[in-house]
Symmetry: C2
Subunit: 339 residues, 2 copies
C-alpha cells in the first residue's frame, strides 16, 4: 500500500462513502415505489429479472461514479462478473475496486433490512478501504467503513452523512476472546443458496457445522462448542462487519465471493481481526502459522480483534487457537470457482 | 376489548412507547459505560449476574412507570416471574401488562443490535397493545408498535420520538403468500438455549426442521421446503415483529415465553397475521379451523398478513394452508412450563 498516502486513502474512503449513500438513496426510493405499487406489479418486481435489474442499476451507478474519479483503476463488480465470459479470479496487484451493489438480495425482496452495498478497494490484493452501507437498517441507514493503514481507522455512522461517527471496534481496546472459546462466542454463518440434498452436500455439512458449534461441551462426539449463539442474517457482508466491529466473534461462511467480503475484510483487518480459509489448509502442521484467506477462495473464517488475555496470550495466538477449534468442529465445504 | 375505548387504548400505547424509549435510553447509556470501562470490569459485566442486574433494572423501570399510570392493572415481567415462586401461566382476563425488559440478552452482551424491549398489554387474554423497541438498531433505535382494534393501527418509528412513522405492514395491502409456499418464503427460527445432544433433543429437532425448510423441493423424503432463506437473529421478539411487518413470512419458535412474543403478537394481529401452536394440535382434522396459539404455550408459528391470491383464496385460507405445510416439514418440540 506504499504507493498511496494516507491522504489519498482518505479521499478514496470519502468517495466510496458518498457513492454508497447515493446508491442507498436509490434503493430506498426503489423500495418506496414497491410498497406503493399495486400487487400485480409488486409480484412481478419480486421475480428474479427485475431484482437483477435493480442490482445492475446500482452497480452501474457505483461504477460510473468511481471510474469518473479514478479512471485508471480496475473494477470488479458482481453483476459485471456474472454477465461476463471471464470466470477466473480477476484481482491484480494494482488499485482495484471490488463491489457488491446489493448483498442480501433475498432480504431486499422481503424488505428484511439486512441488505448492504459493499464497496472495497484493494492494493496489492489486500483490502485497504472498505465501505458497507445498509440503507434500510435504521432511519438513516447504517454505515461501517475503514481505512486499513497505520494512520487509518474504522468507523460506524448511523446518523446520516453529517452525523457523528463511532470508532470501531465498539469496545476499545477490544476484550480478549473467551479462554474456552468457542464457548461463549457469538457465531455467524449462512445456509446459502446450494440446497441440494445428499449426505455430503454443502447444505447438509453446513447444518451439521452449526449444530456442532451450538451443542453442549462433550456432545456430538466431542465436537460440541457451546457457542453463545448461531446467527444467520442472509448477508455475508453484514456477518463480516458485525465480527469486524466486535459485535460478534466468529464468521464462518463458504460459497460467497470476494465482492461479498472485500469491504468487510478491510474493516476487520483495521480492527485487528483475522480471516483465514474456512477449510483447514492441507498439510498445515499445528505449529505452522495460519495463512490469510485467499480473497478469491470463496471460503472465509473470520475472528474479531482482541487484546492480550489473562494468561498472556497475544491476540494472534488467541485467534489462531480459536480458528483451530472451529476447524475441529466443522466439515470441509466444497465450493469452486466456475472455469 | 370492549371495556376500553380507542382513546384509552391510544393513551396506553403512548405510555408504553414513552416507557420503552426511557428504558432504551438507559440501555444505550449502559452500553456506553461498558465500552469505556477497563477490560477486567467489562469481563465481569459479561457474567450472568451482572447482565441479570441490567435486566432487573430495566424491568423495574418499566414496571414502576406503568403501575404509576395504571395502578390497578396486572403486571407479568420476565424477571419477576423468574425470581418468583409461581411458575404457572399467570394471565387473567383483566387488563394485564406482559413485559420482557431485554429480549436477546446474549446479543446485548455481544453488542449485536438485535435486542429489544418488549411491552405488551392484554385484554381478555388477547394481545391488544404492543410496543417493541430495539434501542441499538439504527442511530435512534427502531420501534414497532400497534393497537389491535378496528380503529387501531400499526407503525414503524425509526427517526426518534418526534420523527415520522411508517404504517405497517410495510406493503399495504400486503401481497398474497407465494402460491407454492413455503417455497419462496423468508423463515425465522432460533436454535435456543436447550443445547442437549441426543437424537430427540430440541436442538437436534430444530436443526432438522431448519434443514427441511431449506432443502430443495423433493429432498429430505419430500419434506424439502425450498424457502428463500432461514434467518436466526437470537431474538424471538425481533423474529415476530419482522413477520408482523411483512419483512418476513414465517416465524417458527418454541421454548420462548409469553413476554417474548406478546407485544409482537399484538402487532401481528393488527396487520392481519396469525399465530398458532408450532406443534400441530392432536386430533386436528384437515378440515378443522386451526386455533390461535395459547399465549402461555411456549410454541409459536406465525404467518404474516396477506391479501386474496390469484386463485381466489382468502388470507386465512392461504395462512392455514401454509401452517399445514410447515407442520408437515417439522418435528414436534418438547417445551413445558415449570410447575
Amino acid at each position: 500500500m506504499s504507493d498511496f498516502s494516507i491522504g489519498e486513502l482518505q479521499k478514496l474512503h470519502d468517495v466510496a462513502c458518498t457513492v454508497a449513500r447515493l446508491a442507498g438513496n436509490y434503493m430506498r426510493e426503489d423500495q418506496l415505489r414497491r410498497r406503493q405499487t399495486p400487487l400485480a406489479t409488486r409480484e412481478k418486481l419480486n421475480s428474479v429479472d427485475l431484482v437483477t435489474a435493480a442490482d445492475e442499476t446500482v452497480e452501474k451507478m457505483i461504477k460510473d461514479s468511481i471510474l469518473k474519479e479514478y479512471p485508471d483503476h480496475a473494477f470488479i463488480g458482481e453483476e459485471s462478473y456474472s454477465a461476463g465470459e471471464e470466470k477466473r479470479f480477476l484481482l491484480k496487484d494494482g488499485p482495484t475496486w471490488i463491489i457488491d451493489p446489493i448483498d442480501g438480495t433475498v432480504n431486499m425482496v422481503h424488505m428484511f433490512p439486512m441488505t448492504a452495498i459493499s464497496i472495497g478497494f484493494c492494493l496489492k490484493s489486500i483490502p485497504t478501504v472498505g465501505v458497507v452501507f445498509a440503507p434500510f437498517l435504521g432511519g438513516q441507514g447504517t454505515m461501517y467503513s475503514a481505512i486499513h493503514h497505520p494512520e487509518g481507522g474504522a468507523w460506524l455512522s448511523e446518523l446520516g452523512p453529517d452525523g457523528p461517527t463511532t470508532p470501531l471496534p465498539l469496545t476499545s481496546p477490544p476484550p480478549p476472546l473467551p479462554l474456552d472459546a468457542p464457548k461463549g462466542c457469538l457465531f455467524f454463518g449462512e445456509y446459502g443458496k446450494d440446497r441440494r440434498d445428499h449426505p455430503q452436500s454443502n447444505l447438509t455439512k453446513k447444518a451439521a457445522n452449526f449444530v456442532n458449534m451450538a451443542t453442549e461441551i462433550g456432545g456430538r462426539g466431542g465436537k460440541g462448542g457451546m457457542v453463545h449463539g448461531i446467527r444467520s442474517l442472509g448477508s455475508s457482508t453484514m456477518d463480516m462487519v458485525y465480527v469486524a466491529s466486535g459485535q460478534g466473534d466468529i464468521m464462518f461462511e463458504a460459497g460467497c465471493w470476494e465482492w461479498d467480503v472485500c469491504a468487510g475484510i478491510a474493516i476487520l483487518l483495521q480492527t485487528g481481526g483475522i480471516v483465514v480459509d474456512s477449510n483447514p489448509p492441507l498439510n498445515l502442521q499445528d505449529s505452522d502459522p495460519i495463512p490469510m484467506a485467499n480473497l478469491g477462495g470463496r471460503r472465509y473464517l473470520a475472528i474479531r480483534g482482541c487484546s492480550e488475555d489473562s494468561t498472556g496470550r497475544s491476540p494472534r495466538m488467541q485467534q489462531e487457537a480459536l480458528v483451530r477449534e472451529v476447524w475441529k468442529r466443522t466439515e470441509r465445504l466444497d465450493y469452486q470457482r466456475p472455469v
